[in-house]
Amino acid sequence: MTCVVYGDYECPFCAALEARLQTLALRVCFRHFPVRSSHPRAQPAACAAEAAHEQGAFWAMHDALFADQGRLEDPHLWARAERLGLDVARFDAVRRGDQASERVRRDFRAGVRAGVVTTPTIFVGDTAISGRATIEAVSRIEPGSGPARTH
């Protein structure tokens, strides 16, 4: 059983859910669901994760973003890239490019099609759970053949 998570790097409940997920041996698939009006840095942060992915460091960036939601401005993103040993100039060009934003938009649209209206929303099989309730809900999922992470 894979737990599909629609989340946003500026959303505090998503960070709380992420912290819980890291204690569990689950198969997790993360999808971006940035809502710019509520969380203005969610979109740049999601593009940063995608730019890190281009250098093989999606999950390292994902974890670094959730670990410090108070620092999501551009210089903070560059500092994370540097700390992770990425080529910062390339990272910056890619995160501002169309490919990263299209990838994020693709996740967002997939979420909308699945009925997502808030973050975090998780899908466990056909069941959708949203908001605070996700944090308890993930503890009840059978680990199955996990852990593994995809996005």
Binding site: V35, R36, S37, S38, P40, F108, R109, V112, R113, A114, G115, V116, V117, T118
Partner: protein, 152 residues
């Protein structure tokens, strides 16, 4: 009274626009309109709903549909709400006489506020689709609107 059903003509109504003008039945003609009835400005659930719909304005525009938020809040409160959310969806006020339009569309909650409901009206001012959430705390996904727009 349940929410106005598909196939019924939209009722005569008058809502207040943020500039003090009115939005009436005549404004429905020749366009595809989605009226998004929500309980209260600044309530947390409405905030999520309108923020997500706002992300999709381009997609709605591609389908020639215009969204409006409708509540019984005064237009000053609605404008403050819209500005706080940083959204573009125009807000229409059903403040005076309070709830009259919500009642005409069958979405007035006994508590004096709109049910969380969506009403899609075609260019002929006939309701094409409507939806009322099982409870005001449940958010209708934008997928429901897109499905209804694609149902032609």
């Amino acid at each position: 009274m349940p929410v106005v059903a598909a196939g019924q003509p939209a009722p005569q109504f008058s809502l207040q626009r943020p500039d003090g003008g009115t939005f009436t039945h005549a404004d429905l003609l020749g366009k595809t309109t989605v009226l998004v009835f929500y309980p209260f400005a600044f309530s947390p659930v409405c905030t999520d709903q309108l923020s997500v719909y706002n992300e999709l304005l381009e997609d709605f525009a591609e389908r020639a549909a215009t969204l409006y938020g409708v509540s019984c809040d005064a237009h000053y409160s609605q404008t403050a709400f819209k500005d706080a959310l940083n959204i573009e969806i125009e807000q229409l006020s059903d403040f005076e006489p309070k709830g009259a339009v919500c009642e005409a569309f069958g979405v007035l909650h006994p508590g004096g506020f709109p049910q969380r409901a969506l009403v899609l009206v075609g260019p002929d001012a006939v309701v094409k689709w409507s939806y009322e959430a099982p409870s005001p705390s449940e958010l209708p996904g934008a997928n429901l609107i897109f499905d209804a727009l694609s149902a032609d």
